[in-house]
Each structure stands twice: as structure tokens, then as C-alpha cells.
Amino acid sequence: MQQHVIASSSTNARLRARDLTAEEIAEIEHELTLYPTKQAVGLEALKIVQRHQGWVSDESMLAIADYLSVPVSELEGVATFFNLIFRRPVGDKVILFCDSVSCWIMGCDKVKKRLSEHLGIDYGETSAGGEYTLIPVPCLGDCDKAPVMMVGEKMHRNLSCESIDSLLPLSNAEGSK
């Protein structure tokens, strides 16, 4: 099989593709039955790997590119295009906090401030205990229940500063202030 490599400029190390797991391969194979080209499965494959590994490492990226026979640069071009493909490790749960217009009108900035204080993190960061990564997201399509956020796959609506602490328990007492 053709072996793609990513050269890392900082260490000059040549990264190798990791082996995809049997589960990942089975899911990617299923997607391949649905589309007429392998390239079309790129995003699905990235999402499958992210679901299993939590994020998409360089080694995973290489493995998917190999498996689908697409240039790794093109796959990277797809991965970096999307807000929800993570090229860095994230916490156990990703918090997508809506910062769009209706939520802003309804005071999401205050809620965000409280959220950041509670978790001890700002956008793009992961809480000390590794539970949560906080990311801003455009309008989640629930504007009549603003402000809203999504934690993992679950929507939380009509947020207030008071409701934040109980919605997001932290196992590590140090993490909360």
C-alpha cells in the first residue's frame, strides 16, 4: 500500500499511519457502499475515527488517507474546513456554546462568563479534570429558547447563570471556583 507521511517541521520526525481498528474499518466500509466514490467518504471517515478516538491525530489522518487512497493534503483540507473535526485532543464532552445573534440578545455573554468561571477555561480550552472542552458555535437552531448550548449530544435551553453550575458537574473539586 502507498504510504503517506507527514513531516513535522519541529522534530523532523516522519509520522506513520496508525492501524485503523476493525470497528472503524467496518463503519467506513459501510459508508463506502453509499457513495459512488471513495473521496466522498472522507468526512464520514474522519467523523467515524473521531467518534472512536475522541479526535483526529496526524497518525489517524494518514491512516484514513491511505485507506481511501486520497492525498492526505486534500483530506486535511476537508478536516480543517469543518468546525467540528478536532485536530487536537478534546475533553470527554465538548460544549458547543451558541454565541449567535438571538442568544446574544438574550444575554449569552453573561452566561458564557459564568460558564468560563465555573470550568476555569475559555474558548478552545479543556477543563483541568479533562471533562469539558468549550467551543463557540453558530446558531444552534433553537433561538426561541435562547440562550442555548449543547453538551455532548444534548441540548440545554433557556440557560441562566444560575443553571450553569448544576448542569456541568465537575468531578475535580479543584477545577471549580
Binding site: V70, L84, G141
Partner: protein
């Protein structure tokens, strides 16, 4: 017959209807009408005559769009139907309700559209964050397949049809229909040059129709109850019903199915329960984040594409965003500009470089570092980013709230400079 063909089955306090329940409620009657001998050309005629316009934002007549698919009896030519379910326009929350609330209505609409253009395969391009909709649609597709409503020779028509549910991963530009096609092909989702239009050369170069979720959900009713019924629902030159929403400081924000021609006042003050105590309506965007501001003097305007267009704005998605007197208009527009700057695909220069510049100026205004020259730069950008200057409609969309806001709220903009801070806090 019903006057709420889109939402009659939707009750958010319980789950969506199963296929059995949907059929018991009269569902799949439109699809069965096809089985009883309607030809694709008959369906096209009815949809044209109904006056249905696309609900994805542009309001393009659906039957006319379909008629651009090259006619051919050669079924070996692959054609595709693509459902635009990428709802991500700020302040827009209507397709979510349809998909979570009544997925079989969408599937039935898709069967009707696909049969008309003879597309044997469809893709639903669903916003990645819509997990509840994903579950609801996946379940409905499985039920429909089990019952023979999808698959080979559906309804005994000799027509094969199946649906692939594709979930995206968060990027607003994917909602632009040609960017969406690139995304489905696994490419970076920049928009494509038009022509050729997707109807002729779309997904993998094949004839393709892209329709919005709500558009397709109109089709079962049109076939089941007829064109006359459909036209009796609307007034003011637009037919049928539409999902209209209100968000912001009203007492009962929400989204309701109402006939075209209902007044803005009725939606905001009636269904939305009016402004909350202590807040007054200052202005509003009538159809999502890419529309021009209107003001309280426009409250008695009927909600139709024409009437809102005559005011210099657009009906677009029909979901209104209200600005109240306690919220800074400059802050609100700045919030929208941050969104558009972030979601620019970066393909063409005015949008890639212009929107971040605009965004930076709004941040400066907010923090008291803005100058009067900055306001002039904003005004210039309304021209630089306007229709015809960029590769797709994202940047012109951003100029709608920007241009109208600069006109309407000139005093507020100036106050941010002269007071060197936001006067609202």
C-alpha cells in the same frame, strides 16, 4: 383537509409519529396518488400550478426549478435529489422542528420530488449538530424501507428510490447549494461557478435538484388535497403556509405555521405575545441574519415575498430576530459580522479580507477605539461586499443587516465614537 399541512402531526411534547401512525393520520396519500397513475409530468404541472416557492431563502419557484432538469426517458442517466438540511443561518429555527417533529412528511415529500425528476437516489445533507433530527430521520428511513416505501419498485410504480442521510460537521457555507455539492463529493466546500446550474450538472456532474426541507414538506399536501386547496391557504400572491418564527425579547418566542399574508404584527404581538415588560421593539430582521432591518412602522405589512421585498428587505427564512430598546444595535450587527467573517469560505478576496476587517472595526467600536473614519470604511464595505462583487451570496447576505443598520442607527454608531464606549453599558 387541514390549514396546517406542515405541522398538523407535530406535537413536541411527544416523539414524532411512527410510519404506522403517520399513515393512520392520512400520510403517504400524496405518494399513493403517484402509485395510482400520476406521471412525473402531471406532478410537475401540479407543483408549478400550486405556486410553491423554495423555502431555503431565495423563494425560487420550485416547479420552474425542477423543469430545468433535462427531460429524458433514459432512466440509466443518474439524477439526484439533495435535501438542504444544513440550517445554520443565525436566528433560523424552522427546519429543525420539521425534521424532529415529522420526519415521514419530509420522506414523503422527497419521494414526490424524486419521482418527478426521476432521481433514484437522494442525499439528505443534515447539519452535524442536529443529533435529534438525525435520530428521528434515520428511524423514519428505516421504517420506510421496511415497509417497501423506499427501495425497489416503491408503491408498485416500477420506480426505485432510496435515501442516504449525510451529516455534516459545522460550516455555514455548506448551505449554499453548490458548496453543499462539493461537500457531498468529499471536497473542500467552496461554492462552484454557475452556470452550469446543478439542475443540469450537479452532484458528480449529474442533473441534481437541491431543495430545502420546508419546501419538500409542502409537497405531500399539494398532491393529497390539490392545488385549489393549497392556493386557498395563502393571500397576497403567495400560496400555502410558511413557518414563521420570532426570537428575542418577546413573551412567548416560538415558531408557528401560518398562511402567507398574515401581518408581522399578528406574529410578533399575537403569537409571540408582544414585547416583554420593560422592553420596546426597536427594529427587527424579518427572515434571519442575512436580511435588512425593518422597523415598527412596518408592523402591519403582510408576510409575503413581494410585500417584504417592496420594503427593501427579504422574507428569506421567515424567522424574525427582534432588537429591543435595551440592546445595542451596533453590538447586534457586530455579532452578525463576527459570524459571517468566521464562516467565509475564503475563496474570494472581498469576502475573505473584507469581512474580518469589518469584524475588527466592530470590536474597536465596542471597546471605544473606533473612529468616524472606521464608520466610513464600514459604509464602503456595503458596496465592496454587495451583490455581484463576490463569488457567492454569503457576503452580500452580510451587507443586508450592515447596510440597513448603518442607515437606521447612524446616531448609535456615532455615539460609540464620540463617547469612546458603547452607550448601552
Amino acid at each position: 383537509m387541514t390549514d396546517r399541512p406542515l405541522t398538523k402531526n407535530i406535537d413536541l411534547s411527544r416523539g414524532a409519529l411512527s410510519l404506522k401512525e403517520y399513515v393512520a393520520a392520512g400520510g403517504y396519500a400524496g405518494a399513493r396518488a403517484i402509485a395510482n397513475g400520476l406521471e412525473p409530468s402531471d406532478v410537475l404541472e401540479r407543483v408549478k400550478n400550486s405556486g410553491l416557492k423554495g423555502r431555503g431563502g431565495a423563494g425560487f419557484p420550485t416547479g420552474l426549478k425542477w423543469s430545468f432538469v433535462p427531460k429524458s426517458d433514459d432512466v440509466s442517466i443518474q439524477r439526484y435529489l439533495v435535501v438542504n438540511a444544513d440550517e445554520m443561518e443565525p436566528g433560523t429555527f424552522k427546519d429543525r422542528m420539521l425534521m424532529e417533529g415529522d420526519p415521514h412528511l419530509l420522506i414523503e415529500g422527497m419521494i414526490i420530488a424524486a419521482y418527478t425528476i426521476q432521481a433514484t437516489r437522494a442525499f439528505i445533507f443534515l447539519r452535524g449538530e442536529y443529533f435529534d433530527a438525525e435520530r428521528s430521520i434515520a428511524k423514519a428511513i428505516a421504517e420506510a424501507r421496511d415497509s417497501g416505501y423506499l427501495g425497489r419498485d416503491i408503491f408498485g410504480t416500477g420506480f426505485d428510490f432510496d435515501i442516504v442521510l449525510h451529516t455534516s460537521a459545522g460550516r455555514y457555507i455548506c448551505g449554499e447549494e453548490t458548496a453543499l455539492l462539493n461537500a457531498l463529493e468529499g471536497k473542500r466546500a467552496n461554492p462552484r461557478a454557475k452556470p452550469p446550474f446543478p439542475q443540469v450538472s450537479g452532484l458528480w456532474g449529474k442533473p441534481t435538484i437541491v431543495n430545502n426541507v420546508e419546501t419538500l414538506c409542502n409537497l405531500p399536501g399539494i398532491l393529497a388535497y390539490g392545488v385549489e386547496w393549497y392556493q386557498s391557504l395563502g393571500s397576497g400572491g403567495d400560496f400555502g403556509t410558511k413557518l414563521f418564527g420570532v426570537s428575542g425579547r418577546v413573551n412567548t418566542p416560538g415558531c408557528w405555521e401560518l398562511p402567507f399574508g398574515v401581518s408581522i404584527r399578528e406574529v410578533i404581538e399575537g403569537y409571540g405575545g408582544g414585547m416583554q415588560e420593560g422592553y420596546a421593539l426597536k427594529a427587527f430582521l424579518p427572515g434571519g441574519g442575512s436580511t435588512d432591518f425593518l422597523t415598527p412602522e412596518h408592523l402591519d405589512t403582510p408576510l409575503t415575498y413581494t410585500a417584504i421585498g417592496e420594503l427593501g428587505s427579504r422574507l428569506a427564512t421567515g424567522t424574525m430576530i427582534l432588537l429591543d430598546d435595551k440592546t445595542c444595535p451596533v453590538g447586534m450587527i457586530g455579532n452578525l459580522m463576527k459570524f459571517f467573517a468566521h464562516e467565509s469560505c475564503g475563496f474570494c478576496t472581498p469576502c475573505r479580507d473584507g469581512l474580518p476587517w469589518v469584524d475588527t472595526i466592530f470590536r474597536d467600536l465596542e471597546s471605544g477605539k473606533g473612529s468616524f473614519k472606521d464608520i466610513d470604511v464600514l459604509k464602503d464595505h456595503v458596496g465592496y461586499l454587495g451583490p455581484g462583487r463576490t463569488f457567492c451570496a454569503l457576503a452580500p447576505g452580510a451587507t443586508a443587516p450592515l447596510g440597513s443598520g448603518l442607515r437606521l442607527f447612524a446616531d448609535e454608531f456615532a455615539a460609540h465614537v464620540s463617547g469612546a464606549k458603547c452607550p448601552y453599558h
